[in-house]
């Protein structure tokens, strides 16, 4: 039991220190705080030193190697996308369709369907992250494909506000000419003047 008491004493060293403080005459107010803070200031400094001298994870050289690999992989990615564009989407037939939300009056969209010349080419369901990115000004490339030069028809439909009273479905048709340059088409969704959702399509 003696040893048990000794251990208990050691364990509750913290409590006893506090208790011993209780035995000291108390000087209320700011002076004590000042004294205490002055006393702990070196503690903070020491702690800060401890942080600085704490053995860091031995990742420094590894970290540099990782960064180097990232650079290499990014360079490969750039060349690969260049190659992909030349092989799969040559500029004379390339068509890209983008989606953006109105900067001032964004609307919550749930899904999108795109058809070109009557054929479904894209169907997308939006995640929360994507919606957030769109409302901050990001632009989604929803479709990239190939079309011969000439006249084409784009049909788009969007749904939004699912499960809410103001749920909506918008549809629009856009006729465009594909020429020899890459064709960029932009779809903008927003809330109209009276809050009703609007959809606009234009050449970019």
């Amino acid at each position: 039991m003696q040893s048990g008491r000794a251990i208990r004493t050691a364990f509750f060293e913290r409590a006893q220190k506090i208790q011993s403080k209780l035995m000291r005459p108390r000087v209320a107010g700011l002076f004590v705080i000042l004294m205490f803070l002055a006393a702990i200031a070196p503690g903070i400094a020491l702690a800060k030193d401890a942080k600085n001298t704490t053995k860091a994870l031995p990742t420094q050289s590894l970290d540099e190697q990782v960064q180097e690999i990232k650079s290499d992989v990014l360079a490969i990615a750039a060349e690969l996308s260049n190659l992909e564009e030349k092989l799969i989407y040559p500029s004379n037939t390339q068509v890209a369709i983008f989606v953006e939300l109105d900067a001032d009056r964004p609307v919550p969209i749930d899904s999108a369907r795109l058809s070109i010349d009557g054929e479904l080419v894209a169907h997308h369901i939006y995640t929360f992250k994507e919606l957030e990115a769109l409302s901050k000004g990001g632009v989604q490339r929803i479709f990239t494909g190939n079309l011969p030069t000439g006249k084409h028809r784009l049909d788009v439909s969007f749904t939004g506000g699912r499960g809410e009273a103001n749920g909506f479905e918008l549809a629009e048709t856009f006729a465009f000419d594909k020429e020899v340059d890459p064709k960029l088409v932009g779809i903008t969704l927003g809330a109209g003047v009276v809050g009703n959702p609007t959809l606009a399509i234009e050449n970019w």
Partner: protein
């Protein structure tokens, strides 16, 4: 235009290093997050270039690799354009370069991140753009732990920097000065932004720390009190408010200001990241005041929480201690026994975790995709039934150093996935070019031969048309009716003229003379007809030429289309073998390198995790021993109490 706050870092609290260090760490984290947030939210306009905005779309989702890939490519294309001023990226080039730096920084590519920013600073750009670049460079140095370089960059900014980053610059300067151990100057800077809505909470808290480090203790207490009462709108602000209250409560409690300490601790949210520490310290503060009965309240709440938390474990031991001080030894004995049992069970978990890590399950658990979909994934690790190896490592995983190493590991895993995917794509590209080659190669020589024939014919016809056009143009000023004669008329004229020549050779008899006159009359009739129908004929020729022009235009279009298609056919398979093989080789080399580094990085993570678990195991063993002995002691006392009431 950039960039996202690193929100999760506010949970980065390394309890092992103690409150003050954690405090300082938070101040540092605050600058990175808030300063980035500032420039993101204050971006005045949207980018116009769709490719730049596409990069932003990925960056805003935290997909920095994809963002960098697109923006690097867009910038490279921009610099290849002959007339850059006509390119849609031209107007926002500086912004795009800044964003590259931001993305690189967020993708933990510090070595490259400064490059783009320095390029902007070195270029001839307007002063506000240069100052913005200097601010970003300073932020980069700060995040890399280079405060002197950061301060140099900040000193290069003039007296009136762009309004949208003015507060962010001041906030960064204050944090740099704190890092340089110049707290008084830091406090002076922080005082200037105390009314900044953007930095509310952070500036208040950091000012408190700066004052504390500067020896202005009373002012620090007032400041932390203010920081602990701010109106917080988001998670970060609530966390920093909790942090202020925790630090202040601890200071007051240790100084004997127990009542004030209690009130301060009560301001910490019960479900926030600092609630366990607050409950623990609130209990100790009550003990300091001799109020053991009151200490029981927070510790009872805390002792019921997740048993892997160090604060909870301390509370499981401290709670029976409080009961023993209240002479409720039987309750103390029960709780000590429960604590010993709980510690035993936790030790079992630690042993299981150690075994699991050594079996390689730890890294697998960290890689699980469904965990990382959630921004609170580190917290969720604790509740995953199939990942016991992570139970005890939540605080370790949340620490900055571990996060950096872990992110590197995860980035390597992600890059490996991409490279393997690309390897398959490259094989498909090679197949594609071979299929195209098999299809086009035999056809193209014959097509080219036929094309050359048609091309020659077309050139002749086009030359004829040009000649006709020239002659008609001349006829507008110098009429030539004979040129508009039909083929029949021309043959008739030729026959009559032949007859007349023959008649002229016959001599001068009356019969011959009559025939000559007849032939001349016929020629006159022909000339008359040509002269009198000249305008109609000219109009008709012009009409036909116009029709011809339209046909020629269609022909030229078709010709151009054919040339493009012919070129496209060749471009669809010629010249790819080299680049594809080269890329394939580079992918293979990168995969080899990733495999090696990933293994090393994984080992580092496992070793750190094992060290942490061993530390926790030692601590738990000590706790368990203490609980066992204290249980025996309390049991004794309870028994004695029953014998001699």
């Amino acid at each position: 235009m950039h960039f996202l706050p690193c929100r999760h870092r506010f949970r980065v609290v390394n309890a092992a290093l103690g409150l003050a260090v954690a405090t300082f760490a938070l101040a540092v984290a605050g600058v990175a997050g808030r300063a980035s947030l500032a420039s993101a939210d204050q971006a005045p306009t949207r980018a116009a270039d769709p490719h730049f905005r596409e990069a932003l779309f990925y960056a805003y989702q935290g997909n920095f690799f994809e963002a960098l890939e697109r923006l690097d490519s867009e910038l490279a294309q921009h610099y290849e354009v002959d007339e850059r001023a006509l390119d849609s990226l031209y107007a926002e080039l500086a912004d795009a370069e800044f964003s590259v730096g931001d993305f690189e920084l967020r993708y933990r590519m510090h070595l490259r991140a400064g490059r783009a920013i320095r390029a902007v600073m070195a270029a001839e750009v307007p002063e506000p753009v240069r100052e913005d670049a200097a601010y970003r460079l300073a932020r980069l140095h700060f995040q890399k732990g280079q405060p002197r370089a950061a301060l140099d960059a900040l000193d290069s900014i003039g007296e009136a920097p762009p309004k949208n980053i003015r507060d962010a610059i001041t906030y960064l300067r204050a944090n740099v000065l704190l890092m340089l151990n110049r707290p008084s100057e830091a406090a002076e800077a922080l005082r200037k932004i105390q009314n900044s809505e953007e930095f509310e909470g952070f500036s208040a808290y950091n000012l408190g720390i700066a004052l504390l480090e500067g020896g202005e203790a009373a002012a620090a207490v007032r400041q932390l009190d203010r920081g602990g009462k701010i109106h917080a709108k988001d998670r970060e602000a609530m966390a920093i408010r909790d942090k202020s209250n925790l630090v202040l409560g601890t200071l007051l409690g240790e100084a004997g200001e127990n009542q004030r300490a209690q009130k301060t601790f009560e301001r910490v949210r019960l479900e926030g990241p600092f609630s366990n520490q607050a409950l623990l310290r609130a209990g100790w503060s009550e003990v300091t005041a001799g109020q053991f009965d009151r200490a029981v309240v927070p510790w009872t709440i805390l002792a019921e929480r997740d048993g892997t938390d160090e604060a909870v474990q301390e509370a499981q031991l401290a709670l029976p201690f409080a009961y023993s001080k209240l002479n409720i030894h039987s309750r103390a004995a029960v709780l000590y026994e429960r604590a010993a049992s709980s510690f035993g069970s936790e030790l079992g978990k630690i042993e299981a975790s150690l075994g699991s890590i050594r079996d390689g399950n730890f890294l697998e658990a960290l890689e699980r995709e469904e965990i990382r979909q959630d921004r609170d994934w580190v917290i969720r690790l604790r509740s995953l039934p199939e990942a016991p190896e992570t139970y005890y490592l939540v605080s370790l995983i949340a620490s900055h150093d571990f996060q950096s190493a872990l992110q590197n590991y995860l980035d390597l895993a992600e890059m490996r996935r991409k490279l393997l995917d690309w390897q398959r794509s490259l094989a498909a590209f090679e197949d594609m070019t071979q299929v195209r080659s098999r299809y086009y190669a035999p056809k193209i020589p014959e097509i080219d031969r036929r094309f050359r024939q048609l091309d020659a014919q077309m050139r002749v016809r086009l030359e004829q048309r040009r000649h006709l056009d020239e002659r008609l143009t001349k006829m507008l000023t110098a009429p030539a009716p004979e040129l508009l004669a039909t083929a029949d008329e021309q043959a008739t004229r030729s026959s009559i003229e032949n007859l007349r020549s023959r008649i002229n050779r016959m001599g001068d008899s009356p019969g011959v003379s009559r025939q000559r006159k007849r032939a001349e009359r016929l020629l006159g009739v022909l000339s008359w007809r040509l002269e009198t129908t000249y305008h109609e004929r000219l109009t008709e020729v012009h009409t036909h030429l116009a029709v011809l022009n339209s046909d020629v235009k269609a022909l030229e279009e078709q010709y151009a289309r054919f040339v493009r298609t012919r070129q496209a056919a060749a471009h669809s398979y010629v010249g790819y073998t080299g680049p594809i093989q080269n890329l394939d080789e580079r992918v293979r080399i990168a995969l080899d390198a990733i495999s090696t580094i990933r293994e090393q990085q994984g080992q580092v993570l496992e070793e750190v995790a094992i060290r942490e678990l061993e530390r926790r195991r030692e601590r738990l063993r000590a706790h368990q021993n203490k609980a066992r002995f204290a249980f025996a002691d309390s049991y004794d006392r309870a028994a004695k109490h029953r014998i001699a009431p």
